[in-house]
Symmetry: C2
Subunit: 479 residues, 2 copies
């Protein structure tokens, strides 16, 4: 037995969702309460929930909100984590190793000291800086509280017109959710095609599919104003009840779209005001900068993870801000392991993402054309059409695969896939190949699973790799 | 213009399915008929068909046989390939650089000389060496001709009892096909569980699912005799019409199973009698041995590919016989490229395979426990349960993932997956990771596609990798 007891350390965690509570849980797994005290502050009502699930809850695919919660406050507390809900951290005092927290309901404030600190403050939805952006009926969908507020609005609204601002993952998923609830949905999108995480030629396929679902897609349109007040007949009474400032439409540079509800899906920014005020290092996208162990750069006893940090893009070599639950969970795991005395690192990402609009599956990994240009990479780009299963097998559905490979070296740079069932997760093949630094030529002989219900004899990713490899060779022989 | 015309070379291809005709087509793409004459011999009636599709044709999922044919004889001939159907090559004369071929219908024989030769003779189903194995109603399902013969039997048979001998991919798929056609199906299997390409603990999951479908699974049973004659009442008249030798059941060491039709799915062997007679090098599994360019070892002008060759298993470092259309196509592509004056290699396989029994998806890649033992690798083995989608998302279905990682190094050795929709093709993640030589620890941070309809926030493969990595570390710390 070790008789020389060291002082019990205190870990303070700011943020009670994926990264923060994964870190707390993993640290607790490795160190018991006699070694490590854990205090976690969460501004909202919930912990460890799947923000990515909110569109499916709003859309009705998930009927019970609590199913989005992986671990409740009570479960965390049962594992000796001192969780303080509805408590917002308002200041970091790095020299004093303490944080000031405010009870959201009572306004009471107090300081809590720490030996180790985890910052997992997440991201906040971008709210357009324009009149009406705060009107009733205008909703972000970043937190479970946001989702609940939107559902309350939908249940209390008589009109059936919804405008979604933004056509990224959240915008597109929310458009489907609202269509599923019987709304007339218009998506107002600043870009030339929806899903700007794809190249426009692939986004175009998403555009067509969305219109096929009855969603009105308005591209190249910037929202300049959100209309409020009692102008909408159907909302007349309600807006009077609410005192007037209720959404009734959005205005773009050249048109007006009536709306009974507006959902903002124009992206999020790292929530790093606290960190910034404390002088912690932020990257070009406003996210905290960490080392490979998820320690905040230059700060021995502070870690950060989840939507408030920037991550290394292994393909471009640059830092990016990618708010995604799967990364947040990995960060939390790495942080908790390191705080618990183990060793773990997060090497970076390759930028994989999948999404679904009704039966359309949309996936991407690595660099788009404009990313490659931006970081000075020349590339060959190919697009192929194939099917999800052997052509003769029932329900074989078309799939489009775009592949970028570096000029001369042939190194895989990115893959985008749009198709139906079986399309989305095929991007994982490319995600692993990117991580391993494979060339398109090497990919042509990958031993991928083949049987008629699963794939043509040449998997669509292999077909794309063959074409990309041929183009790289062709280029080589030309110069 | 190059005025010094070289003599036009002749390429002879033996075998008109995937490997042979892919080689012929690719060679033709690179060299026109003025440079290269191509003669292809095929014993059967068909070319370039999907043998893997036969179970789905028999089962009724694919209604039109011709849909299994990727390219018809006429299409090949239109591309200046002199295709000779129903013509069997009976002898190779390596010194004379010629092959002797026999017209199957007329019996006429003639010699054809070659400059370059491709051997793509495929595989033949193992027929048990026992009485009754050649009786009417006993069928292999290796070729389209075999499939047609089986369908003819099914249509002409009054009874509804089918016995499938063997529980590998073909056996399991044929069991489903026959269930779909309304047969009472019994699968007689020599092994302790079906799907011996999996470890028995995973095969057990397949066993349960098959019984759930109403298939009677008989394990640890060796067929010793096939019963024929007029013993079965229902077959009485028919067997008299046919002259008696018609199947009426199979006998194992301790039981008897009545059968109106018997399907042999006990595997295939490389069809290399010709090659053996000519003294070409064969491996331990009876397949031709080639180099990386698919050239038969020691023979400058002879290539071989498809089900008649052995392939290098990149994980074990040993040669294996893996008859699978996807490899055959790749071999053909490599051979055709090299004969056409290009450069291509086939580096080997990692042993990926997927299969489906009704809605059960079965996948494997790399080594099983017994493979690892056989090649002297010590390993950690973990099995996890997860789901195909986020747990709260509709139709999330359970999935079992087993992972083997090498002791100490943590290098991934193999993955087996059994589950429902979305399980099978997940094995591709492991197939690429195996090819890249990744460790389980490296896999824990793979940036795989995540969204609730596609995956839990930790993909099942990542969950397995985390557990395997932890076990490797634990082992390390113990010694």
């Amino acid at each position: 037995m070790n008789m020389s007891r060291t002082r019990r350390e205190r870990l303070v965690v700011i943020g009670g969702d994926a990264a923060g509570m994964s870190a707390a849980s993993q640290a607790r797994r490795l160190k018991g309460p006699d070694e490590l005290e854990i205090v976690a502050f969460e501004r909202g009502h919930f912990t460890s929930y799947s923000a990515c699930g909110i569109p499916y809850w709003v859309g009705g695919d998930v009927t019970d909100r609590d199913r989005l919660i992986a671990r409740t406050p009570e479960e965390h507390r049962a594992r000796d984590i001192d969780l303080r809900l509805r408590t917002e951290v308002t200041e970091l005092d790095l020299d004093g190793q303490r944080v000031r927290a405010r009870d959201v309901d009572t306004g009471e404030e107090s300081w809590t000291s720490y030996d180790k600190l985890v910052i997992a403050t997440g991201a906040r939805p971008i709210r357009p800086d324009m009149p009406g952006a705060d009107a009733a009926g205008v909703h972000g969908v970043q937190t479970l509280d946001d989702g609940q507020a939107l559902l309350d609005t939908l249940e209390g609204t008589r009109g059936r017109r919804a405008v979604v601002v933004g056509a990224g993952y959240i915008g597109v998923e929310m458009a489907e959710a609202l269509i599923n609830r019987g709304y007339d949905v218009t998506v107002v999108n600043r870009g030339s095609e929806p899903m700007s995480t794809l190249d426009p030629d692939m986004g175009c396929l998403v555009h067509e599919a969305m219109e096929g679902l009855g969603i009105t897609m308005v591209n190249d349109a910037e929202v300049t104003k959100i209309l409020t007040g009692d102008g909408g007949t159907s909302l007349l009474e309600r807006s009077r009840e609410l005192g007037g400032s209720r959404v009734r439409g959005v205005v773009t540079q050249d048109r007006e779209f009536p709306a009974d509800v507006v959902v903002l899906g124009i992206g999020v920014r790292p929530e790093t005001a606290l960190a910034k005020a404390a002088g912690l290092p932020l990257g070009p996208h406003g996210g905290l900068l960490t080392d490979r162990s998820m320690r905040v750069r230059g700060h021995e006893n502070i870690w950060a993870g989840g939507d408030c940090v920037e991550v290394l893009d292994l393909v471009s070599g640059q830092d990016r801000h990618i708010p995604l639950g799967t990364h947040a969970n990995k960060h939390g795991q790495v942080i908790g392991t390191n705080i618990g005395g183990g060793y773990a690192t997060f090497p970076g990402v390759v930028g994989t993402a999948v999404s679904k609009v009704c039966d359309l599956e949309i996936a991407r990994t690595g660099l788009r054309e404009k990313d490659a240009h931006r970081v000075g990479l020349r590339f060959e780009s190919v697009t192929i059409e194939s099917t999800s299963r052997a052509g003769y097998y029932p329900n074989a559905s078309p799939m489009t695969v775009k592949m970028l490979a570096e000029h001369r070296t042939g190194r895989l740079l990115g893959v985008q896939i749009v198709g139906r069932e079986g399309a989305g997760k095929r991007v994982d093949i490319a995600a692993v190949a990117l991580t391993a630094g494979m060339t398109a030529e090497q990919m042509t002989t990958l031993d991928l699973g083949y049987a008629p219900p699963f794939s043509p004899v040449w998997d669509p990713v292999l077909v794309a790799a063959r074409k990309a490899a041929a183009q790289v060779r062709g280029t080589l022989s030309r110069g």
